[in-house]
Assembly symmetry: C2
Homo-oligomer: 458 residues x 2
């Protein structure tokens, strides 16, 4: 194994190759605390594409697996290392290379942090919509590899919808350009789109060209609704969709999560009811007010105990900050297991009921946050640290929720990816013929099988 390290050092120089076990520990896994990992043989921190290509060529020659890593905020174990693997961390490739205001696009290195990109392009009056809750930390490379979603996607779509083209190092260490930089383009297969969401199993993304849209300006309307039950809140979500309204965000947070945020940040959010729905409209002018009014009507019709429309931006920021803080707030309480099922919008109330039922049956405490407008639910399983029996029950509840979602025509992962945590459910969802297609494509693009092997499917 030391041969790989020496060869990497010879090719890249000492400084780019880390082998200190304590430092490497911080690079060995993502935030999926329940997913297994083992120690890498080296962590490489490339400065440029040629470094990445050199790493992959060396590893391909020796059959050593390679896993790419952004900020490590993933929630499914996709960035976890296996024993003796090489971790490629993109922390030094973090530049915004170009912003083109006429084309409304940006070209970036994979290590750019989502919020940093957002701040940079706003200087040109542009906006990059995909906004995973991890946006202050997660990188565009990681967002691309998982096809990250976020709060805006109910109206603005997910990462794939904004990827025009990319530079990729293939499994044989070739550097290729995929996709396009123009607004449209249909030359050949959509290989850039194929790379998006492939969780590092088909190539290492070394540069991305992203489509941008004009920065939103003007007043946004926020609609807040508290409900007595998950079911009522779920019905309100389905009602909004049935009314033909497409809010720019429609989030759900239950009292358990609100309390965790309150206890941490003292925001006083959990007093009003069991479940909070948080909706926004960013339509301009009178249309925004009218849309917010329709959302409010849907909330009231579905028995909101308290509902209000507001244009107070400070209050709205606080509420959405609370939504983003729900995950870290719950992490403070113990090891978290995160669900990510997505169901048809009409099934949101039924699925929320099923989650409650399953939690009771397996005596597992489940908090709920959700990109409710998409039908993308994030039940969060909290177990007391060290309680193995509780952990096992939570894992059974987790798999049961996956099965319920599939039975409703849903998917096992709306935005976090399969990684290691969702492989059983993914195999059920895809079925053997489609898994065979995955294997065939992986074999075609990564013939040595060194790119993040054993993730997503086997």
């Amino acid at each position: 194994m030391s041969g790989v390290v020496e060869e990497l050092r010879a090719a890249l120089g000492e400084g780019l190759v880390v082998t200190d076990p304590e430092v490497m520990e911080g690079y060995a896994h993502d935030e999926a605390e329940w997913a297994p990992y083992e120690g890498p043989v080296a962590v490489v921190r490339p400065r440029e594409t040629a470094d990445v290509a050199a790493v992959v060529r060396i590893c391909a020659d020796r059959g050593v697996p390679v896993v790419a890593r952004g900020a490590g905020t993933g929630l499914s174990g996709a960035a976890n290392s296996g024993r003796g693997w090489v971790v490629v961390s993109f922390e030094r490739m973090n530049r915004v290379l170009a912003v083109d205001p006429v084309q409304q696009s940006a070209t970036v290195q994979p290590g750019v942090v989502n919020d940093d990109l957002r701040a940079r392009v706003s200087q040109d009056g542009l906006w990059y919509p995909p906004d995973p809750a991890s946006s202050p930390w997660s990188t565009i490379g990681g967002n691309v590899s998982t096809n990250a979603g976020g709060l805006c996607c109910v109206k603005y779509g997910v990462t794939r919808d904004y990827v025009l083209g990319m530079e990729v190092v293939t499994g044989t260490g070739r550097v290729v350009r995929l996709g396009k930089t123009t607004a449209k383009g249909v030359t050949g297969y959509d290989l850039a789109g194929l790379m998006v969401g492939s969780e590092g199993t088909l190539g290492l993304v070394t540069e991305v060209t992203l489509r941008l849209v004009p920065l939103r300006t003007g007043i946004e309307h926020t609609v807040v609704g508290y409900f007595d039950s998950l079911t009522d809140a779920g019905r309100a979500v389905a009602a909004v969709s049935a009314a033909g309204v497409v809010p720019s965000a429609l989030e759900l947070i239950d009292r358990f999560c609100l309390q965790a945020v309150d206890e941490w940040k003292n925001m006083g959010l959990s007093a009003e009811g069991e479940v909070l729905l948080l909706a926004r409209s960013d339509l301009p002018g009178e249309s925004g007010r009218a849309e917010a009014e329709r959302i409010l009507e849907c909330f009231e019709k579905e028995r909101a105990v308290y509902a209000v429309r507001s244009t107070d931006e400070e209050e709205a920021e606080a509420l959405f900050a609370a939504r983003r803080l729900a995950y870290p707030a719950l992490e403070r309480l113990g090891p978290l297991l995160t669900e990510d099922v997505c169901v048809p919008k009409a099934s949101v109330p039924t699925m929320l009921e099923a989650i409650e039922r399953i939690g009771e049956r397996f005596r597992t405490r489940i908090g709920n946050i959700a990109h409710a407008g998409d039908g993308n639910l994030h039940p969060l399983f909290i177990v007391p640290a060290g309680d193995e029996e509780a952990k096992e029950r939570a894992q059974r509840a987790f798999e049961e929720i996956v099965d319920e979602a599939l039975a409703m025509g849903g998917t096992v992962t709306g935005e976090h990816g399969v990684g290691l945590l969702k492989m059983r459910g993914a195999a059920d969802e895809l079925g053997p013929d489609v898994v065979a297609m995955h294997r065939a494509i992986k074999g075609a693009l990564d013939p040595k099988g060194i790119l993040n092997p054993g993730k997503v499917f086997v």
Copy 2:
């Protein structure tokens, strides 16, 4: 060869298998008049997915190529038959299977005509945006296979942006479901997205689930601008994009095309100037008026000889009808060769200048229509019927325009697909490494190489 026909008849019944040469001639090619084709051995008209799977299995066993066909409105020869191939025409699989107003989606068979789908979903207050100029005739299956664009895509994206999931018959005759039916989903590779735009080389699409959006209501604003030159019009297009405005359509038609429409339909459009730009804003209320005003300012700043903003829906319909009629109007004048390059938006004026220059150099009459807001240009080459020397000059001009577009960082095909006409340019655009990736993927999913072989890449 007759063995295949007998086996198809035995499997599907007499009525579904056509072998009459005169009938087959109408199924042997698309509207790319300059692309080669040869006679198929049979045309099959399946009623259901099982029929399609049977055809593919029979053809895979015998190594007979299969080409799928919608309405045959393609412009690159992708649907053309080779000698002894089997053509699968989806004309009988033309049902809208379900419309889900809560999920805002529709599930359809591939033979549904784009405009028919549009009309059907409007009954539920929903809208399917992708609107190729062929929308009165072209089918969703064909739209999916070419990743069709249209007038709306400058704001609303292309076919791929609306495909959630699909049923596909693979190259080995297996029936698989790809993608999802939920709003989001990242389970495994985006194989549905890979199928979109693959021009029938990776599978036969037998069912599609499409994302829909709420039907637009309310007043739309139209901005009309006439210019003295293509360059001025191109500058106005770049100015609109640089102003951060995203119109819901931004089309260009030159006088040559306007005259052809006038001569056919007597619309009186060609009197005002050399080039017409046609823009729309569908933002609600005051925002729409303001956006249209900004577009108007861009037109005036870039020396429009006549420019006006209007909310007269009848007039707007007539103008956009003229845009859609430009292609068939020119077809009346002789065999048409259609370009489809897409360039960065800032390069639109330069590219339009290059097209004029190339037309003069090769003494070829070129008409121009364009989805100008996307940078997607459709120079149309008209040659006198039977003039082989003029045809050869036009073909050289065609390739020269491809090279100019590539030199500007553009793509050889914005929305029509590679088919047979753009294979040389596509090979240059993709480069040998990316073509090798295409070959590897095709080999993985179509191991017998029977799905529309020899198209897109070799």
